[in-house]
Amino acid sequence: MAEEAGTGEVIELEIPARAEFVALARLVVSALAASDSNLADERIDDLKLAVSEACTNAIEAHGAAGSEERVLVRCRTDDESIEVCVEDRGDGFDPTGLPNHPPVTDPDRLKFERGLGIPLIRALVDEVEFNPTGQGTAVRLVMRHTAMGSRANGHR
């Protein structure tokens, strides 16, 4: 849709903080990314997955905080990249303080059914920031047109 767009088009989607709406965020982001002829299909899939993880976390944060507010997904496309910002009104968290998983070779690894979302996000997109907003968290995901090497092996 944005193939001939100028720089800095902004598209916003606001969804209820409920699990069934994450699919809508994926749909919008992948349609936008697909209209950007500078992004390969594989990188569109990566962005879609990262957005899905961020929206899932946002919705869970609203659930934990008892917030009835909606989650905002703001997409910005320009000549160099597509940026997706997922803003929630949850209680925030410290992304540097997340527990490390045991190595996959350790049988204890199976104790961890959760905690895979943020490592995935970090591995999939070119840039990620977790910003406290005062009211919650804004997760900013950037996918650049010139694949600066997807960081598929860069997670810890």
Partner: protein, 119 residues
């Protein structure tokens, strides 16, 4: 959004074929179906992911939980997956070393060597 969950018996394995998108919305149904199967005494389960269009960390969590549960019954959970975008999710998270992943249900049933799996 529909999640397809079909079960078939194959040579002592229960084959659970998943179709559609596995995410935070649909994963609970997937988890329940797996737990149900284990409860019915199926301790050797093959999860066929060939019909899955999307799988996120919630889906991975269901599979890890299923594997743990089956191992505690001396069973196992095998995966069938050849789609690169789905395999990628297992690779990034290191779970290719945790699950035995096969090219086809036949290969998984027939005891062919896994394409990837725990060593």
């Amino acid at each position: 959004m529909d999640l397809g969950l079909d079960v078939e018996e194959r040579d002592g394995f229960a084959v659970l074929s998943v179709r559609g998108e596995v995410d935070v919305y649909t994963a609970p149904r997937f988890r329940e179906r797996l737990i149900e199967l284990v409860g019915e005494g199926k301790h050797h389960i093959i999860v066929d992911l060939e019909g899955v269009d999307f799988l996120d960390s919630t889906g991975l969590g269901v599979l890890v939980g299923g594997l743990k549960r089956l191992r505690s019954h001396d069973g196992d959970l095998f995966l069938v997956c050849t789609q690169s975008r789905i395999l990628k999710v297992f690779e990034i998270t290191g779970l290719t070393k945790v699950f035995s992943i096969f090219d086809s249900v036949d290969a998984a049933v027939g005891g062919a060597p896994a394409v990837s799996g725990p060593s």
